[in-house]
Symmetry: C3
Subunit: 149 residues, 3 copies
């Protein structure tokens, strides 16, 4: 485990609209507002797109993701974290639980997950001088959060 | 997508008791403390009441909700947001994931969802001069969060 | 319902590694940093260990927990709260939703739940002079959060 210390910065409240794409629309907002690090909490409707729902084999060092489609409108609760990639572009990694008619899927939001009707998100900016970024992990072949200090 | 910017205000930690009704008891607390905008995170036991678990038809412009009962005690994690209605009364919109014995329901907490044994909630007040409220959307016939600036 | 008021303190961003045990590694970090009260949000991979998924009987005053194993790697979203026990040691109570291949379990993280591949957690420290602790509830025979002011 590694950790960095920061302090609270700006807070943004987002009213997401029907058909807004997640996580892209929040990443674009973060880029526009020059948000480097932030915690994101989201609740709202979700439809379309895909979730990663675990690796095919738990013990595989280079995991092959189980990718499941999101069909129909779901009620969702999600948490995410914004950190820059190697080029300084904000990347939002977000996990959520999506329910519809008593069936629930939880997983990692892939590009193209889409807001249904309305979404509410709160972005808590974190101010810190520490070096932290989403960088490619060669072994897993996935971009992972790394603290570089 | 629309957004407002604010800054962090007071933090409240709530110890909810058995049979406290959600979201009402948090809404009453917010009214008493004059909290206008806040992010809420909750975890604890939940029983009784109802969840909205999606619309019957995803493409319906005036969605008919799928309403499911919460039976028996569940372990839950939830996120919500407090904003005023047209009369300035705080309204908490809250989504959660509820698990019992390996079965999970996720959805939107309806009035009458009830705490089982104990609940823990943290309220992060957001200070902002922006106009934001939960107003009736005529087309969907649902009260939705709207940024009015 | 009881409540305490506080204000935001330090923010910590944690990059959890494969095989880090939850909630212990966050509790040890809290002890080291002298964090007394904090809200925790987590998302990442989880495998191994157990979840409490409700009591066997909802109406039982001394609930017997339903304990379910976490098998294989799951994608998870979780929320927790750190408060001291009677001896001042930080205790993290945490609920999460874990998904794998379209099946979802939600429940309370027991000691030994383990990070798979990577986990991201944000700790929001809450500063308050109020007396609040996790103390044994004699009737339920469970340690519960209590506000002692």
């Amino acid at each position: 485990m590694k950790a960095i210390e920061g302090r609270i910065g700006r807070i943004f409240v987002l009213r997401l609209d029907h058909d807004d794409p997640l996580p892209q629309c929040i990443e674009e907002f973060a880029a526009e507002k020059k948000i480097r690090l932030a915690q994101v909490v989201f609740h709202g409707g979700i439809y379309k797109g895909n979730l990663v729902a675990g690796p095919r084999k738990t013990e595989d060092p280079k995991p092959v993701p189980i990718v499941l489609p999101v069909n129909e409108a779901n009620e969702s609760v999600a948490s995410g974290f914004i950190a820059p990639d190697e080029d300084g572009k904000p990347v939002l990694h977000m996990h959520g639980s999506l329910g519809r008619a008593g069936k629930t899927q939880s997983g990692c939001f892939q590009k193209g997950v889409t807001v249904w009707l309305v979404g509410e998100a709160v972005i808590n900016e974190i101010l810190s001088e520490s070096r932290i970024a989403r960088v490619l992990n060669e072994e897993a072949d996935i971009r992972l959060l790394e603290i570089l200090d």
